[in-house]
Amino acid sequence: MKVRVFGALTQVLQDREQPLEHPLTVGEFMKRLREEHPRLNAYTFRVALNQKMAADDDILHEEDELALLPPFAGG
């Protein structure tokens, strides 16, 4: 599964290929990711699954793409 990271979040983690040993929900995956990278908790962002905003109970598969999208401020 691809994890794509945007904006200021790239200071916390980079894009990665995430192997999935077994199906996982978005909620479970994000909980683990936050434990692995606690600095994520200092940021606000949405999670999108395959170009749609994800719900916590959406199930993740190998071929999916998860994107972490913070709001941008600059103008």
Partner: protein, 360 residues
């Protein structure tokens, strides 16, 4: 109409489309990195009325990307300078320059009466204000925003479509999105995103397919990759916007950002309220410059800290204190913060005169 001949030839536009543009009234909030390209192309295309809202003055560092301005504009109000430049570009349409920032006290009267609002601002407080006013007035609006080499754009509140709050309901922390001044921006990136806003605005006014309608266009100028990510209307967020709209001007939009885990040294030095300082270094090798408690991070527990005061954790550089603040927040302590940059930054700020009064 010789001026618009090149677009009127397009079957999607024609003279009917040109009349739609001529009848349209668009408000552009912000005449900066995004606002300049938006305004330039909307004026050139013949949008009948453009309201330009910006309280800033033109500075030299703006000229790298705010392409409506030049040497002759330096020091002038951006809304007025933009209108002056655009009148030369297209003197056949109407301009209204509002020399001032969009604020809760005048946002409704300023935006009312338009067909479309463009959010070309640079801060979250104004973005959420625009959201609430547009939802309250029933106006569609196009958001745009920049972060280094990336950009975002979407058409919101169109035909019951989702709003900016539906997209980003949570208050953004200070770390989430620094300004262009703080982290830098290449002019062409600002141009690309501003043009995307202008492009979507023209499509909307012409009745063409709006691909960013309820879909966040996310663009990376380094890779030239773009994604459109759809987002849904959230009834709770729409209701919140309508409620805020009714309460205006008594809504504090500065609360829409911050709530951050991190305080800057400047924020700490200007505090009037009592702050409990806690040095969380494992060993206090150098004496701290301010009176504080010393609890090594490895021994620190939520029960050791007062829940009723603001608690500021400090370490050498601000990294372990941030990690600890995050953990303590998860344990239910809401008023615990971390000093950004740690003792290193604080000593520097205090030494340079940022220090106003002795820690009470």
């Amino acid at each position: 109409m010789e001026r618009y001949a090149r677009q009127m030839i397009l079957p999607e536009i024609g003279s009917a489309g040109q009349e739609k543009l001529a009848a349209a009234r668009v408000a552009v909030v912000g005449a900066g990195g995004l606002g300049c390209p938006v305004l330039q192309y909307l004026a050139a295309a013949g949008v009948g009325e453009l309201t330009i809202i910006d309280g800033d003055r033109v500075q030299k560092s703006n000229l790298q990307r705010q392409i409506l301005f030049g040497a002759s504009s330096l020091g002038q109000n951006k809304a007025r300078a933009a209108a002056a430049r655009l009148k030369d570009l297209n003197g056949e349409i109407q301009y209204r320059a509002v020399d001032g920032f969009l604020l809760p006290g005048m946002a409704i009267e300023t935006l009312r009466g338009h067909d479309l609002v463009i959010d070309a601002t640079d801060n979250f407080a104004t973005r959420y204000l625009i959201n609430d006013v547009c939802v309250g007035l029933g106006l569609p609006f196009i958001i745009g925003a920049l972060d280094r080499f990336q950009g975002q754009m979407a058409l919101c509140n169109h035909n019951g479509g989702p709003s900016y709050r539906c997209l980003f309901p949570d208050r953004p922390t200070a770390e989430t999105a620094p300004s262009c001044g703080e982290q830098g921006i290449l002019g062409s990136v600002a141009g690309l995103v501003g043009l995307a806003q202008a492009n979507e605005a023209l499509k909307y006014l012409l009745g063409l397919n709006c691909s960013a309608d309820g879909r966040l266009w996310f663009f990376d100028a380094l890779t030239l990759q773009a994604r459109t990510i759809s987002f849904k209307a959230d009834e709770k967020q729409l209701a919140l916007a309508r409620e805020n709209f009714k309460r205006l001007p008594d809504v504090d939009y500065s609360l829409e950002c911050g709530g951050s885990l991190e305080w800057t040294a400047g924020m700490f030095l200007q505090r009037e309220k009592e702050t409990v300082l806690v040095d969380v270094r494992e060993s206090a090798t150098t004496p701290p410059p301010f009176p504080c408690r010393h609890i090594p991070g490895s021994r620190l527990r939520a029960e050791m800290l007062p829940a009723e005061s603001d608690v500021l954790l400090v370490c050498a550089h601000g990294l372990s204190s941030l990690r600890l603040a995050v953990l303590l927040r998860e344990q239910g302590l809401e008023r615990v913060y971390s000093l950004k940059g740690g003792w290193t930054k604080l000593s520097g700020e205090a030494a340079s005169g940022g220090y106003v009064a002795a820690n009470k």
